[in-house]
């Protein structure tokens, strides 16, 4: 059912070699092609819209893979997924989208995720983007994630896009309730004529809610990146935003963090930095016998790790 190419894409985005260990749903070129529900993790198709519901029962532990692959050109795939992690469950969720665009038309995936992490639950969510193709057609990914973290729940989001995607517009919105914690780590590398925008809004709603957002990016060639992380505290929450970019060649990076508090006990911090690779870092690695290119590569891959 899955071709060698499909498997390669799945490996890239979800590190899947064979069947995923837990529950899974694989979507290919706009259609679900393989699915497995498990006791306590139910995956079912939506009736009114394209997409799936993933329902995790309270207290359940395990993993869910819901990768999407696109292998055709002139394809626009829009999908709505709703994911509910039951109270005190502990789940690793691997999403992500891999595009192989063989032609000159565009291949586009817009994935809209609604994720609810119920009281006391833990979610580790990872979303990796990957693109390839020889026809010169654009590879476009526009993920939107709406996240609700209920009381004392924890969510960790890892969002990765390293080369290969021409245009991406990422929107992430999170609501963190009392005692809830969010950790978000975004890593991005663009080159050539690629563009990437990332808008993040995190609302700290209740007492003891916390959020930490780390964004690391490298811009090469003529690529353009914009980051707009916003951290809003409506209650006594604590939050930290950190945007750190390495700028190279003729690229453009724009970073506009915002913090906003409506509560005297809120504590919010933002840090943003854009700069080229430091000369003494390159020299240090070259003095170990690396060429300048190898040194750059080592610095960038460490930075994005």
């Amino acid at each position: 059912m899955l071709t060698a190419l499909d498997k390669k894409l799945l490996e890239e985005i979800a590190e899947l070699h064979d069947d995923p260990p837990g529950a899974f749903n694989i979507r290919k070129d706009g259609k679900g092609v393989q699915r497995r529900s498990l006791e306590g993790i139910e995956i079912r198709s939506k009736e009114d819209q394209p997409g799936i519901d993933v329902l995790v029962a309270p207290g359940k532990e395990g993993s869910v893979h819901i990768p999407v692959i696109l292998t055709e050109t002139d394809l626009s795939d829009l999908v709505y997924n709703t994911i509910e992690i039951g109270e005190n469950a502990d789940i690793t969720l691997v999403a992500g989208c891999g595009i192989h665009n063989p032609g000159s038309g565009s291949a586009r995936h817009d994935g809209i995720h609604r994720i609810i992490v119920r009281r006391g639950a833990r979610l580790k969510y990872s979303e990796k983007h990957y693109g390839e193709g020889e026809g010169g057609g654009k590879r476009i990914l526009n993920p939107k994630t709406e996240l609700v973290i209920e009381e004392d729940a924890y969510a960790e989001l890892e969002l990765i896009q390293i080369r290969g995607v021409d245009n991406t517009n990422r929107v992430t919105e999170a609501e963190v309730h009392a005692g809830g914690r969010l950790f978000m780590f975004e890593r991005l590398l663009t080159d050539g004529e690629q563009t990437a925008n990332s808008d993040v809004v995190v609302n700290l709603m209740g007492e003891g809610s916390t959020a930490r957002i780390i964004s690391r990016s490298v811009a090469q060639g003529n690529s353009k990146q914009t980051f707009n992380p916003r951290l809003l505290a409506y209650g006594p929450g604590r939050g930290h935003v950190e945007c750190d970019s390495i700028i190279m060649d003729q690229s453009t990076v724009r970073s506009v963090p915002e913090i906003w508090a409506e509560n005297a006990d809120a504590e919010l911090v933002h840090e943003a930095a854009i700069g080229k690779i430091a000369g003494d870092q390159l020299i240090k690695l070259m003095a170990l016998g690396l060429t300048e290119e190898e040194a750059e590569e080592a610095i960038i891959s460490g930075f994005l790790k």
Binding site: R216, D244, A278, A287, L288, G302, F303
Partner: protein, 248 residues
């Protein structure tokens, strides 16, 4: 082994060319240990940077085992066996200590995983640490030294290895540098420490961009003290003159 032949160095700073080194004649031999000492700003690190290829001399030549390497870049020189532990090692976001040591060992023959232990850092605690601001000044300095030990080049230049290192570890550091020195290696230590000046075969005093004296400890030590006093006296006198003119 490493020869600096009539080196001149000028650096262009804000469009103006400033002289840094002049008339440097140095021949570092295999199997010997050397100390470069002298006042702040006298040009010690600049000599190391010229040897490593980080600064291109404005005049003169650099030889390694008789081969003219003046035109060679940093990478090539490193691969030929020159290594330099920085005075102020850079920090790297995301790069771990183990990554750095692996890079250092890539172009060396001797694989040495014990280098961290040798400089008093427990590998279990440090291998996975990131080389960023989370490490203290002394820690980053020790890791820099461990990196040079892991690289194990034929010519080893340590730039103020004692800086920021606590007293207890300092003894250990001296032992490690001494023990790892071999018949076929040349060790150059830039230092102000009496203990280090005592352990080397030859001390080279650098003043105002050139070699002002060389010899063993007994010859150089009195000279260091005297020149320190001299420059103090000079700056004091300068101050006197300034204050004399000062209409208060």
């Amino acid at each position: 082994m490493l020869k600096l032949d009539n080196i001149y160095l000028e650096l262009v700073v804000e469009g103006r060319s400033i002289p840094i080194l002049h008339d440097i004649e140095l021949d570092f031999q295999a199997g010997k240990m050397y100390a470069l000492t002298g006042p702040n700003g006298s040009g010690k690190s600049s000599i190391a940077r010229v040897a490593m290829g980080i600064y291109q001399p404005t005049g003169g030549k650099v030889f390694l085992n008789g081969e003219d390497i003046t035109a060679m870049g940093i990478t090539e020189r490193a691969r030929m066996g020159i290594g330099y532990a920085f005075q102020q090692p850079p920090r790297f976001k995301g790069m771990r200590v183990v990554d750095m040591l692996e890079l250092a060992m890539k172009h060396s023959d001797g694989l040495n995983c014990q280098v961290l232990r040798q400089i008093g850092l427990c590998p279990d605690d440090y291998l996975d640490r990131t080389l960023d601001n989370s490490l203290s000044g002394g820690e980053i300095k020790r890791i820099e030294i461990a990196t040079l030990l892991a690289q194990n080049p034929k010519v080893r230049i340590f730039d103020e290895p004692e800086a920021g290192i606590d007293l207890w570890s300092f003894e250990q550091l001296i032992d490690v540098i001494g023990d790892s020195h071999r018949e076929d290696t040349t060790t150059v230590i830039i230092s102000h420490q009496e203990k280090i000046l005592n352990m080397v075969d030859e001390i080279i005093l650098i003043e105002e961009g050139t070699v002002s004296m060389r010899g063993n400890r007994d010859k150089i030590w009195p000279q260091i003290k005297e020149s320190a006093q001299c420059s103090c006296r000079r700056s004091c006198r300068l101050e006197e003159e300034l204050y004399a003119d000062c209409p208060r």
